[in-house]
Structures are given as C-alpha cells and as structure tokens.
C-alpha cells in the first residue's frame, strides 16, 4: 500500500475549478515529482494535500489513515512536512531558532511556560545538525532575513526537515537558484531521498528527471500522465503540452 494516497480530489474557488479530479499516490522511500505548466494547479494540489485547503470532494490518506480536511497542524504532527515556494520563515529569528522551533521535541513541550528553552542543549544540538545537513553550518546565529537567497532556500528545507517528517513535500525548491545552487540542492535531495519519502513540485525538468523515481504531470487540474521519467519523455501528452521541449 502506498504511504500517501489522494483519490479523486476536487477543489474549486468560486467558479474556478482548480483541481478537477486528481488522484496521486506516493510510495514509501520513493521520490515523486509533480510537474505541469504555470497555473496547472500544482501548488493548490500541495495545499490540499497538506491541509491548507479542504478539498470539496475526494480523500487523502497517509499511512493508512484518512487525513482529509485535517488542519495543517494535525497533518504536520502525523509526519507530513512541507517547504514553501514563496519563502516562509521566521525572519527575525536566527537560522538555528528557525529550525529549533520546528523540532518535535519543542513542539511536545510547547505549553511549558517555565523551562528555559535556551538551555536545552539536546534540542540545540539537534537543530545545529539539521542546519549542517542543509549546508548552513556556521550560519546558526545569523538572522533568517540576513541570509542570502540560496541560504534562505536551504533554511526553508531545514525547517521542513526539523519536524522529522516521514513524508516531505518540497514546493519548487530550485526557484530562483543559480546553476551552482541547483546542483548543490540536487546533492542534498539525493541524500535525503535515502531516508525519507519526498514529493517535489518543480519547473526545472533536468533537475526533476534526474532525481525522481516517478513523475506525475498535472494540467487543467488533472493528472494527464504519470510514470517513470524515461517513459514520460516519450509520452505524447507530455510532448504535446510543451513540457517535453524543456526536458
């Protein structure tokens, strides 16, 4: 059984049908890619899958459990984490604090009003390890808004990782990165892939085709094709919708 399964998702905003009927499933330990042109409903799809929007119809199941319509908080606590396309950090806090606040151990004692979090060295070590993992060693005490664009992208992933997810959604992680940054990110994701299930929305076809085990193409609010990257390159749908050209 798939780790994460969405069936027949339907979402509309007013008269605008954004998701017509989306069914996606992600296998444990695999890296799945989602691609499609602008406005195809990719990010909306992520938002429905991670609880930001409730779907009008359809179900979402994670690890055998129905999580349709649960709040982002509930879904996060179950082990689904995400990064954002438009960066979404705790800007005034240091990089370390950004990660720290997302750790499950800190979340569990979120109502403790007396203990000094500053003296919790276990949590600080854990946060520092995560920062090092995303390539931000040495930047622990820099404020998030003083980091460079690429570093903020990395921190965005660090915060998502801090929640210790079983499943990680990444929304356009390469957006705005140069070729060097993209290469570094590909390395990081290739390494993360060995430990957790990842789903990536991505515009950069080379990036996605190199990393993904399976790719779904979303267009007009529907999944128009899916399969192994190699098989997809040949797919007439993909070629016709001008996606193959970029690949």
């Amino acid at each position: 059984m798939a780790l994460f399964e969405a069936t027949q998702l339907h979402k509309r905003f007013g008269d605008n049908v954004v998701l017509e009927s989306i069914s996606l499933s992600f296998e444990e330990g695999q890296l799945a890619g989602i691609m499609g042109p602008n406005g195809a409903g990719k990010t909306t799809c992520f938002n429905v899958l991670t609880g930001r929007y409730k779907p009008d119809r359809g179900t979402v199941r994670f690890a055998g459990e129905d999580i349709t319509g649960l709040s982002p908080r509930r879904i996060a606590c179950k082990g689904v984490s995400r990064s954002f396309q438009i960066m979404n950090l705790f800007d005034d806090d240091s990089a370390l604090d950004n990660v720290l606040i997302a750790l499950p151990s800190v979340r569990r004692q979120g109502y403790s009003m007396w203990r000094d979090l500053g003296r919790d060295s276990a949590a600080h070590d854990e946060a520092a390890t995560i920062l090092a993992r995303v390539g931000l060693a040495g930047k622990e005490h820099a404020a998030a808004d003083s980091l460079s664009y690429g570093e903020r992208r990395a921190l965005e992933i660090g915060v998502a990782l801090a929640a210790r997810p079983r499943l990680l959604f990444l929304d356009e992680p390469t957006a705005g990165l140069g070729s060097e940054g993209t290469a570094r990110l590909a390395e990081l994701i290739a390494e993360l892939k060995r430990q957790l299930t990842i789903v990536i929305i991505e515009h950069d076809m080379n990036f996605l085709f190199r990393l993904a085990d399976r790719i779904s193409v979303i267009h007009w609010g529907q999944v128009i094709a899916q399969g192994h990257p190699d098989a997809l390159r040949e797919n007439p749908w993909v070629q016709r919708s001008n996606l193959g050209a970029a690949a």
Binding site: P72, F90, A142, A163
Partner: protein, 329 residues
C-alpha cells in the same frame, strides 16, 4: 532584573528627597506590571490588544466587589480578582484568537468598550459613573504577624513583592518553549501551524495570561486608589498602556514596558505640574518616536550598544550578537 527590583525597593529612601512622593512609585510599579502583561501580547505575540484597560478595570472592580459584597480578605480578594479577569480573558480570547492584525485590534477595542459600558450602566453592581468607593487596603496576615498596609510605604513593599513575582514569571515565560512558539507565531502564523504548533491555543492562552496580569495590576490599583471607577476601563487607559509599551520599546525588549511606564507616569506628573496640556506634548513626543525611533527607548539603547561594540575592533563578533538577542537591554 535585580537592578529594577533594587531600584524600586530603595525608592522610600530617596524619593521624598528629590521632591516626589511614595505613592508615585507605587503607581508607576502597578503600571509597569500592567504594561509588562500587555507586552506579552503586543511585543512577544504580535497581538495588538487595544482594549486592555478592560481587564485592568475588571480586576479593580472584582477586588472591590469581593471585598464589599463577600467580605474577602487581601489574598482571597487578589486571587479572586485574578480568577475573574482570567475568566473574562478566556471568554474574550475565545472570540478573537482566530484573528490577527487589524481585525484582532478592532475586536479587542470592541470588547473593551463592552466592559466599559457595562461598568457605567450596571449601577447596582458597579456603582455606575461614581464607581466603587471606600475600597480598603486589608491587613496582610502572615500567621505570625499582621502587617498593616494602610501606609503607602507598607503597601508599596507588598505590591513590590507581587511585582517581582510577575516579573520573574513573565521572564521565564518568554524564554520557555511556550514563549518561543508565541514569538514564532508573531513572525509567521502560517509556518508555525505547518510545523505543527497549535496557533489558536497559544494565542488564546497568551491573551488569558495577559488579561490575568492586567487583573492583578487592576486589583492593586483599586487598593492604591481605594476605589474603582469606569475611567480605568476607558479607551484612554487602554491607549496609555499601548503608548507605554511602544515608547519604552516593548517590541524589541522585555524591559520596554518597564521603561515606558516609568517615562509615562513621570511625564504625567512632572509635566502635568506645569501644564494642563501635558498629554498634548506627550502625544507629540510619541509621534516623533513612532516616526524616528519606532523601537522605543530600549531600541535606541540596543542600537547605541551595537554601534559601540562595532567601534571596538578587537571584538567584532559582538555587534550582531547584540542586535539579535532580545534579552539584552
């Protein structure tokens, strides 16, 4: 912290020598407590409560009523006032905690007005516009000895003890996981939810706690003034506490409200002795502050320190450390 408490504790020794009086220190301290509690929302949670005078007033009335109708003693009265305010804080908090920004602010004002109106109109309970008069300062009985709090000095020391407790509790609170999550919510509510924090519950608890502190301060105020009247609930009073927090620098420092309350009440008294229109001048200063020094007195102090640290070439690592350590001030 020790410094603040020590300075306050020593006031009876020198205050009259510089031409001031003990009651002033008492009032400043009560406002400091109120402002510190308010800053839990405004500064640490980014939650603009512009009707906080209501909870100060509820505390004052609750203390007075418990004393006059239920014959409550000192500690029972204070505890009762805190519980009553906490209850109203939880009630109002339940209506507003899913909001943020301007909507949050507007709702707090609306609820603040409800309380004020109730205080004016419920004659039977609150004494209407006259308020509750003749609230006594009960005797503090410690088992071995009874302490009379009728003199301003004795009452001042009693209030100082409570103030120190509140100070320590709030200090611990903002450095605890709860306080840090609140700080995260202030910066980015959505991300806080997506990493698994219960945003609503944190905001609600913060509001209830902040209202409780206001209630305690209000109860002390009722004892200090020996009365409770609708004016303490007015939009005016709610505005004063916001001005104290902002001028002091509550947005960047734990100590902002303490500085702000001191500056505000001193200005009121010193400037007020010369001119009726002191609030006009104070308002002008407030406007200039917001325009040119929005981080308040504490912010100016931190900036000065950062600049000073940068000038020392031997220790370059200090400058950023000062900027991003809110507990320094």
């Amino acid at each position: 912290m020790v410094f603040t408490v020590a300075v306050l504790a020593s006031t009876p020794l020198w205050l009259s020598q510089v031409g001031l009086y003990q009651y002033l220190a008492l009032e400043i301290m009560i406002w400091m407590m109120f402002a510190l509690g308010h800053n839990l929302l405004l500064g640490h949670g980014g939650l603009p409560s512009f009707g906080h005078g209501a909870y100060f007033g509820v505390g004052a009335y609750a203390f007075g009523l418990l004393q006059q109708r239920a014959d409550a003693g000192l500690l029972t009265g204070l505890l009762g006032a805190v519980i009553v305010t906490a209850f109203f804080g939880m009630l109002v908090g339940a209506f507003i905690s899913h909001k943020r920004g301007i909507y949050y602010a507007l709702l707090t004002i609306a609820f603040g007005q409800v309380f004020w109106f109730a205080a004016v109109k419920l004659h039977g309970l609150t004494g209407g516009e006259d308020g509750l008069l003749n609230i006594k300062r009960p005797v503090l009985s410690l088992g071995v000895a009874d302490i009379d709090l009728r003199s301003n000095e004795a009452f001042f020391y009693f209030a100082l003890a409570l103030f120190a407790l509140v100070l320590v509790a709030l200090w611990r609170l903002i450095h605890s996981p709860f306080g840090r999550v609140l700080r995260a919510i202030k910066q980015n509510e959505m991300r806080a939810a997506f990493v698994g924090h219960n945003v609503w519950l944190h905001k609600w608890l913060a509001f209830a706690l902040s209202a409780s502190v206001a209630g305690l301060a209000g109860a002390l105020f009722a004892m200090a003034q020996q009365s409770a009247y609708p004016n303490v609930m007015s939009l005016h009073n709610s505005g004063f506490v916001v001005m104290m927090v902002l001028i002091g620098g509550g947005l960047v420092s734990f100590w902002g409200p303490v500085i702000g309350a001191l500056v505000f009440i001193l200005t009121r008294d010193l400037l007020g002795a010369y001119t009726e229109t002191w609030l006009l001048w104070y308002g002008l200063v407030f406007m200039l502050m917001v325009l040119f020094q929005p981080d308040g007195v504490a912010g100016a102090w931190q900036k000065g320190r950062a600049r000073w640290a940068r000038r020392k070439p031997t220790d370059p690592a200090r400058a950023p450390a000062v900027k991003h350590t809110p507990r320094e001030a």
